[in-house]
Amino acid sequence: MLRIKNLKCSYGSITAVHGVSLSIKEGELISIIGANGAGKSSLLLAICGLMKNWSGDILFREKPLKGMSPPAIVRSGISMVPEGRQIFSPLSVMDNLKMGAYTMYRKGMKAEVKKDFQMVLDMFPILRERADQLAGTLSGGEQQMLAIGRALMARPQLLVLDEPSMGLAPKIVDMIFNTIETLRGQGVTILLVEQNARAALKISDRGYVLETGKMVLQGSSEELLVDDDVKRAYLGQDYGDFYDGREN
C-alpha cells in the first residue's frame, strides 16, 4: 500500500533521514521504533506532505506523493494522528470530529459522515458523554481518543499514529493500544510510531528500527521482541565495549 524507497530528509544542511526504505502492505500494522532524534517524525512529516525537503520515492497505492499538498494526501486516504494530539482546544468534541470529516463533507458524503460519527462515538463512549464539552478541557487520554476519532472521520485507508502513548497513564496507554488493535482488526492499515517499543511490537505485524536517520533493523514483531538491538535503539544507547557484560 505504501512504499518508501531511499528517502532522505533534510533541514537546511542537516540531514535527518539518510536513505530509508520502508513498506506497508494493505491490512498490516507496522511499528517504527527509535530514540529521540532517530528521524521518526521527519519520516512521518514527509509521508503527510508536511516536509518540503525530501528526496527519494514515496508511493501510496502505486501513486507518487511527491509534490502533493497535505489536503490532497488526506484525500488520497492517509490520515495522521499527530504527536501531542494537537486537537482544536477551543472547539467542542463534536466540532473537532466534524473537522476530521472536512474532506468527506467536501465530497458531499453527508450520510457517510453521520454513520462515522456513530462509529467513533461507539468506539469511544466517553466522547459521546463529552460531545459538547470544549476539547481543551478533556483529560490527556480522552484527547488522544478524540485525536484518533478525528483522524478516523476522514475514512483513512492508512492511519498514521505518532507517539499515541506519550504522556499518558499506563492504564490509558493499554486502552489506546487496545483501540489500535481493534482498528487493525477492522481492516485499517496502520503505521505506528512509538517509543514504547514493547507495547507497540506486541500488537504489530512487523517493525522497523531507526537509528540516527538510518534503518538498522526490521523484522516480524516476534523477532524484534527478542532482539537486544531494539532495546538499544529505543534507549538510544551505543554499543560501548564489545565484551561488556560477558567479562569475568
Binding site: 539518510h18 513498506s23 502492505k25 538510518k214 523484522g219 527478542v226 538491538d229 564489545f242
Partner: protein, 411 residues
C-alpha cells in the same frame, strides 16, 4: 489480515533488509566498514538490489583471518550460540547467533522440512558427522518448532543407528549422501529388509547428488529423497530446499540473496548461466555475510515451478569453483591440507594427490604421497610411525578421516 505479498512488495522488502544489513555491518564491523571506504562507498549508495554488485566479495579466508569475533556485528553479550568450523587457514571459522538469528533459522528449517512433506506426525532422526554438528542443532530446532518428534544428532555406530531407525519408528532421516549409502549397504549386507523400517523420506544435506544415486537410494530403501542446500560455516542448513517437483532447489531469497558469478572474473551472470553461487544474508544479526563466495557451482532455473513457490530456484551442480573437496558433507580445503601435511612431515611442497575414497563404508580423504629421499628411513618402523602420526594430526586438523598411501616416485 495483511494481503498476499506481491512480487514488487517482496523486492521492496529485500531491498529494505539489504540496506539495514549494510547499515549494521558498516556501523559495527570494521572489516565491512573499511571495504566500503576502499570502494569510496557508503551504505546509502546502495539504492537498489542491483547495486549490490558494487560491493567486494567475501570468502572463507576472511572468516579465518578475523578469528575469533572480528566479523561479529553485535556485542558478545547478545550472542547466544557460538559455533566452530574447521576454517581455511591456521584459525577455525567462528560463527555466532543471537536469539533472533536462531528464531529466524528455526522457522526457515521448519519451512524446508515442511516442503519435504514433514508434519507434526513425523519422527525425525538426525545423523550427521561432527563437522556438521551445528546443522544437527538447527534441524533439531526446526523439527521441534513444527511439532515433529526429533531424535537429535548423536554419534552411534552404524548398527546402533539402524536399531534406533527401526525401533523408534523414524519416518524422516536427515543425513549426508555418504551416510545414506553406507546405511543402505549395511542393511543389505546384514540382510535387513527395508520393510522393517517406518522410514518415508531421507533429507540429504552437505553435497549435491546425481539423479542415479537418488534413484538407487529411493528404490532400495523405499523412501523419497529430498535435497537441502546449506553452508557449513554460517548461517546454516536449509538455505535452499527441494519441492515436490524435485527439479531444482528453492532458495529462501527473503532471507538470503543469491547471485551467480563467473568464478574467474567475478562478473554477475544472467539467469540460467552456470557459475559460482554467492550469498548475502538479509536477516543475520550476529554474523552478516555480504557477497560471500560459497565455492559451490549452480545455475538459476528460470522456468516457473509447478509447486507455486515464489522462491527463486537453482540447480546445484556437482562441481566446485574452489580447491575444496566435500568429504561426508564437510568442505575440506585441499590447499590447507597440504599446509598441514608440510608441517606434519617437516618437508616443503610434498608431491601428493588427494582423493575422496570409501573405506569400510565411510568416506575418507586419501593422500597419495610420493616417497622421496627426505621421507625415506632405513627403518620401516620409523616410517610407519611418521605416517600414523601424520594421519592422526591431519584427521584432527581437517575434521575428516585421513589416510596416507605411500607411492613410488613418478617417472
Amino acid at each position: 489480515m495483511p494481503a498476499e505479498t506481491s512480487m514488487e512488495e517482496r523486492e521492496q522488502l529485500k531491498l529494505e533488509k539489504l540496506q539495514s544489513t549494510l547499515n549494521r555491518a558498516y556501523k559495527n564491523v570494521p572489516f565491512h566498514r573499511n571495504r566500503f571506504l576502499e570502494q569510496e562507498l557508503s551504505p546509502q549508495d546502495i539504492i537498489s538490489l542491483a547495486d549490490l554488485e558494487k560491493l567486494p566479495f567475501m570468502n572463507r579466508s576472511h572468516l579465518s583471518t578475523h578469528y575469533p569475533y572480528g566479523l561479529f556485528a553485535v556485542p558478545l553479550r547478545d550472542i547466544v550460540r557460538i559455533h566452530t568450523a574447521p576454517g581455511t587457514g591456521d584459525s577455525p571459522s567462528i560463527s555466532g547467533y543471537t536469539k533472533a538469528d536462531l528464531l529466524i533459522w528455526k522457522k526457515l528449517v521448519a519451512q524446508s522440512l515442511g516442503a519435504a512433506g514433514v508434519t507434526e506426525m513425523d519422527i525425525i532422526q538426525i545423523q550427521l558427522p561432527p563437522g556438521l554438528a551445528n546443522w544437527g542443532r538447527d534441524y533439531k530446532d526446526g523439527g521441534e518448532d513444527m511439532g515433529a518428534g526429533v531424535i537429535p544428532n548423536s554419534s552411534l555406530s552404524l548398527s546402533k543407528t539402524l536399531m534406533v531407525l527401526r525401533d523408534y519408528k523414524t519416518t524422516t532421516l536427515v543425513t549426508t549422501p555418504a551416510f545414506a549409502e553406507q546405511l543402505m549397504d549395511h542393511m543389505f549386507d546384514q540382510e535387513r529388509n527395508p520393510n522393517e523400517l517406518n522410514l518415508k523420506r531421507i533429507i540429504l544435506v552437505g553435497e549435491p547428488v546425481d539423479r542415479e544415486t537418488v534413484a538407487h537410494l529411493e528404490e532400495r530403501l523405499h523412501v523419497d529423497i529430498w535435497l537441502n542446500y546449506g553452508l557449513s560455516e554460517i548461517p546454516g542448513p536449509a538455505i535452499a530446499h527441494e519441492c515436490a517437483g524435485h527439479c531444482g532447489l528453492h532458495i529462501n531469497d527473503d532471507l538470503i540473496l543469491p547471485e551467480i558469478i563467473n568464478p574467474a572474473t567475478g562478473t554477475v551472470l544472467t539467469s540460467g548461466e552456470k557459475g559460482e553461487l554467492v550469498l548475502t544474508t538479509l536477516s543475520a544479526r550476529a554474523f552478516p555475510l555480504i557477497r560471500f563466495r560459497t565455492g559451490d557451482m549452480a545455475r538459476f532455473v528460470t522456468e516457473p515451478c509447478n509447486c507455486g513457490s515464489s522462491f527463486l530456484k537453482m540447480e546445484w551442480l556437482n562441481e566446485r569453483a574452489d580447491n575444496y573437496m566435500i568429504i561426508s558433507g564437510i568442505k575440506v580445503s585441499l590447499d590447507q591440507v597440504k599446509v598441514y601435511l608440510e608441517a606434519a612431515l617437516g618437508i616443503c611442497d610434498p608431491d601428493c594427490d588427494m582423493d575422496r575414497m570409501r573405506l569400510g563404508g565411510r568416506e575418507i580423504l586419501q593422500i597419495s604421497l610420493v616417497m622421496d629421499d627426505t621421507l625415506f628411513s632405513d627403518e620401516i618402523k620409523n616410517l610407519e610411525k611418521l605416517m600414523f602420526l601424520t594421519e592422526a594430526t591431519l584427521t584432527e586438523q581437517a575434521g575428516v578421516p585421513v589416510k596416507i598411501r605411500l607411492m613410488q616416485k613418478r617417472v
